[in-house]
């Protein structure tokens, strides 16, 4: 259950619309299923009261939508930002991707989002409705008479288990506390892979990446991937490929994508959330973040607007490319 209720958010949105602070509201709405939440733009009270949703499945990071929406909307857009979203929000501001003046950002606390696959693992398929308002999540399936009660903490998404920060780094108004940066174990999985032999790593990634169907969902959801024209869609880039013709191109796509967002990725985890093949793509980004932290000092993209990312920076005594492996030669 989330600390701030859906009703509170609707009331907030309605009042900001009513007093003219904003002209539209970027929010979540129910998709095909209760757990299948999609973004929506609301412009009046009626549609808000009817369609606006806020629950444990509202994982979508809205920062990216601001790039396109601020260009279209007259007046300000209201956006609700979870702590992790605020980092993406700041990162996009650093990159001048939207006009801050056109956004009214309300920070909302987040208790972590649920992973529907974990819910399904407990309750099975055929979920007809989920009620997240009680102490426990009540999951109704078409096969059972009574809803199954699920402990929200047992179905927490991986990225929320390893949540890096509950701090809001950007907002115009805050509902609840500002929150703190927290210690997380988010690099543990990367470290585990690093400790493997190259052959084991290769096998691991071959298994994972070969499942890629190049649906581009990771790219489309990623708040760092806001390029006007993606290099993979650009015939002149030399790497254009809209679908992989072979195993190399799967790897190439993911390496280049990870490299392009390196230093700009806030580790929001949207790539893994939206991947229909459940490829742990966030591990690639985390690997870059971990390496950059270790080699060039701690850096959190989006922690402040205007900061200089490690890959567009240098010192004269940086380590040599061959030296990044020093101290991790257990697998050499």
């Amino acid at each position: 259950m989330q600390k701030v209720s859906q009703q509170q958010l609707i009331d907030k949105a309605v009042s900001l619309l009513a007093d003219g602070t904003v002209s539209c509201v970027l929010g979540w709405t129910k998709g095909e299923f209760d757990y299948d939440i999609t973004p929506a733009l609301f412009t009046d009270e009626a549609s808000l009261r009817q369609g606006f949703v806020w629950n444990d499945f509202c994982g979508a990071n809205f920062s990216k939508y601001l790039v396109a929406k601020t260009r279209k909307c007259e007046g300000k857009i209201l956006v609700f930002l979870k702590p992790c979203d605020t980092y993406s929000f700041n990162q996009l501001l650093t990159e001048h991707r939207f006009d801050r003046e056109k956004v009214y950002a309300v920070g909302i606390p987040c208790e972590g989002m649920a992973d529907i696959d974990k819910v399904k693992a407990i309750c099975g398929d055929g979920i007809s409705s989920i009620d997240c308002n009680g102490e426990k999540m009540a999951v109704q399936t078409i096969y059972e008479d009574a809803p199954v009660q699920v402990d929200a903490s047992s179905v927490l998404a991986e990225r929320c288990i390893n949540c890096k920060s509950k701090k809001h780094v950007a907002y115009d108004e805050l509902m609840g506390d500002e929150g703190d940066v927290i210690d997380s174990a988010r690099f543990d999985e990367v470290a585990k892979l690093e400790a493997m032999t190259p052959d084991e790593r290769f096998t691991f990634w071959q298994n994972e990446l070969s499942r890629c169907i190049r649906c581009n969902a990771c790219r489309d959801a990623c708040p760092a991937c806001t390029c006007e024209v993606c290099v993979f869609n650009n015939p002149k880039s030399g790497v254009e490929n809209k679908s992989p013709a072979n195993s190399f191109e799967e790897k190439m796509f993911h390496i280049i994508r990870a490299f392009h967002v390196a230093g700009r990725c806030t580790d929001c985890g949207e790539c893994s959330r939206v991947c229909p093949q459940n490829i742990p793509l966030h591990l690639l980004n985390r690997k870059f973040i971990k390496d950059m932290n270790e080699c060039y000092g701690e850096y959190q993209a989006g922690a402040e607007v205007g900061s200089r990312a490690p890959l567009v920076n240098y010192t004269t005594d940086d380590l040599e490319p061959g030296e990044v492996f020093n101290g991790r030669d257990s697998d050499a």
Binding site: R97, V231, V312
Partner: protein, 664 residues
């Protein structure tokens, strides 16, 4: 589709000895776009070049591949040949089959095979080449010199004498810099003021020179030939064009307890002051931190005594915009702070002084009117200890001082020691040194005179500790040559403090996008071949802002910088390198990644209206590269996530085509 001609050079037997040139020419005939392929003994000869020109006409070639020696050797030659044949010179690519092939691979089949592959890569690239034209930009025929010390003065005079207008920006109320504070100069012992002040007057009277004193550069935009500079002129509360420099205000000012920075705080000056008698401009300045009128509105005496009516308590800082074609940095140096050198008791005793303070003590215009007197009690010192290398040549781990040699200290210490002994033969003078470095014309002779003629006690070793005791300074030192500990009761200790670049240099470097080393000295474009130019085009270096220097070296570098500036300003237009970055606006995100890695500040952003795919229009921020500033390194092309940024002459597609051709 291109029509490419391939020309394989034998280079006598240099290439033909280990590469089957006929086979190479034959193999490349089959490459896409190639319509003509041949070989010749010496392509670079007149006959070879004529053959290329002839072939361009005969086969209507649009591109040329020369398989020959390194492009570093003859690229320019063949580009000229292409231009003479009516082709764009940038439609030429060279496959280096001599240095990279025939000279390093001894077996004919191997050499031939590799030469063919290198040729294919060049053909693949030329297929994607586009004609390039160097951009032209006009040159504003005016120079800016930042800093009005001897370096800035000399540079400005030399440029102005060549007929170009020059502005000097000096942050102090007067030009003259450090040299104005010196007494005599080594090794000739002529007085600094006697040789400097006439030059200052020359500057003031030169019709091509304007002086902005008490001013700073606050903003620099633009690029070589076209800098837009904002100069902030601090309010001096005196109308510069009205003040006659009579000094009546200075005399009458009741607030006389302000430490005099010109004498390094060893005496006081009034709140309204003229730094020294020969100041240029000779105009009074009110120190707003000391003036009672400015602080609390009580006084106004200077306004009453000023018959010219020059005092203006309401004066504001003024901002001046000017365009320049070239900028010379001459920001100079300062002695480092002695705060970290407690062992020498600088902060505990007034009689421990720096060498620059010693200069003022011996200067006829100084606080003691040139009599060498101790700052503490005004008595004659009878034993003086000079300590060299204070803060110079320090261990980097020591966390204090500088690693470099300050270069001037050995010589001025010899000068101080010699002058002291000359004027006051009853004074014992000790100099403690690590080495005495005298590489300069008449320098070693000068030092030897100090030792041999003037009996200065030169002792190899460092001073470990100075302890004030009564009216003496107990100096504890080691004599490394006789391996003895020495204890000297000194009356005066003079520290040869290391010199460091002026603090204003770092922010200025940022404004100019000029690079600096870790010590904040400006970096030269090439340490040997371009020592007075900054890597940033149009920015030149004069004097100690580039590294420690004595006066003759500073003056010669100042002249060299001036001649470079004159060379630039003499041009009406600048021709650029066409192989520069350019941004595809349709693809640019405006994210600033490219701007951050550009060492030249060549990238700016503008808001432009675009038609979006859904037929609406939107204003987007996009990057624009200034081709006159871009040097074509390509750092931006990789920083750009969307691939909007590309480098002409080395486009992504071209390099990929080379990769493909090699890996095929």
């Amino acid at each position: 589709m291109q029509r490419i001609g391939v020309f394989v050079c034998w280079c006598g037997s240099n290439i033909a000895g280990t590469v089957d040139v006929k086979a190479v020419a034959e193999a490349l005939k089959a490459e896409p776009g190639v319509v003509f392929s041949t070989d010749y003994q010496y392509m670079c000869s007149q006959a070879g070049q004529d053959m290329i020109k002839e072939s361009v006409r005969e086969h209507k070639l649009t591109g040329i591949v020369i398989c020959s020696c390194s492009p570093r050797m003859h690229e320019a030659t063949f580009r000229k040949t292409a231009a003479a044949a009516g082709l764009n010179p940038y439609m030429v690519e060279i496959a280096n089959i001599r240095e990279q092939c025939s000279w390093v691979h001894k077996e004919m089949p191997i050499g031939t095979e590799k030469a063919i592959i290198l040729g294919k890569a060049a053909v693949a690239k030329v297929n994607l080449n586009t004609p390039l034209t160097p951009g032209e930009s006009p040159v504003t025929k005016r120079a800016l010199v930042i800093g009005g010390g001897i370096a800035g003065i000399q540079t400005a005079l030399d440029i102005a004498d060549a007929g170009f207008p020059v502005d000097i920006v000096e942050k102090k109320p007067t030009i003259g810099g450090k040299m104005a504070q010196l007494d005599k100069t080594f090794p000739t012992l002529d007085c600094a003021a006697c040789i400097l002040t006439p030059k200052m007057v020359d500057v003031a009277q030169h019709e091509k020179i304007r002086i902005f004193s008490y001013s700073e550069v606050s903003e620099v935009k633009g690029f070589v030939g076209n800098f837009d500079v904002t100069i902030k002129k601090h309010a001096r509360y005196v109308k510069e064009d009205v003040c006659t420099g009579c000094g009546a205000c200075v005399e009458k000012c009741p607030m006389k307890k302000v430490p005099n920075e010109f004498n390094l705080g060893m005496d006081n000056r009034p709140a309204i002051y003229i730094p020294f008698a020969q100041a240029v401009p000779k105009v009074a300045t009110i120190d707003p931190n000391a003036c009672n009128m400015l602080k609390n509105g009580k006084c106004g005496l200077c306004a009453r005594v000023c018959t010219a009516g020059a005092i203006d308590y309401k004066q504001q800082d003024e901002y001046i915009q000017e365009k320049y074609g070239a900028i010379v940095v001459a920001t100079g140096f300062n002695p480092i702070s002695m705060d970290k050198f407690d062992e020498f008791a600088y902060n505990q005793s007034k009689d421990v002084i720096t060498s620059l303070e010693f200069e003022r003590l011996t200067n006829a215009a100084g606080p003691t009117a040139g009599k060498l007197l101790r700052p503490s009690d005004g008595k004659h010192p009878h034993t003086i200890v000079f300590v060299q290398c204070v803060g110079s040549r320090c261990d980097s781990c020591a966390q204090k001082g500088k690693e470099y040699c300050s270069k001037i200290c050995c010589m001025y210490t010899a000068k101080h020691a010699m002058l002291t002994r000359d004027k006051y033969p009853d004074t014992e003078v000790y100099v403690f040194y690590i080495d005495v470095r005298t590489p300069g014309k008449s320098f070693d002779e000068f030092y030897r005179r100090a030792v041999e003629e003037y009996d200065v006690h030169y002792i190899k070793g460092m001073v470990g500790k100075v302890t004030p005791q009564g009216d003496k300074l107990k100096v504890q030192a080691s004599d490394l040559l006789s391996n003895k500990q020495l204890h000297i009761d000194a009356d005066l200790v003079v520290l040869a403090a290391a010199i460091e670049p002026d603090k204003s240099a770092r922010p200025l470097a940022t404004m100019l996008t000029a690079s600096m080393d870790t010590n904040d000295f400006f970096t030269e474009a090439h340490p040997k071949l371009r020592p007075v130019e900054s890597p940033t085009a149009g920015v030149f270096l004069s004097g100690t802002c580039q590294g420690p220097k004595d006066i003759p070296e500073t003056v010669s570098q100042a002249g060299a910088a001036a001649s470079k500036v004159i060379g630039l300003l003499a041009k009406d237009k600048l021709k650029g390198n066409p192989c520069v970055a350019h941004s595809n606006e349709q693809m640019c995100n405006g994210c600033s990644s490219c701007e951050r890695v550009c060492p030249y500040g060549a990238i700016t952003y503008e808001d432009k209206e675009f038609r979006m795919p859904d037929r609406t229009t939107a204003i987007r921020r996009v990057a624009a590269v200034n081709p006159a500033v871009c040097q074509g390194c390509g750092a931006c092309t990789v920083a750009c996530p969307s691939g909007a940024m590309d480098l002409r002459g080395f486009m992504n597609e071209q390099i990929m085509a080379e990769v493909d051709a090699i890996c095929k």
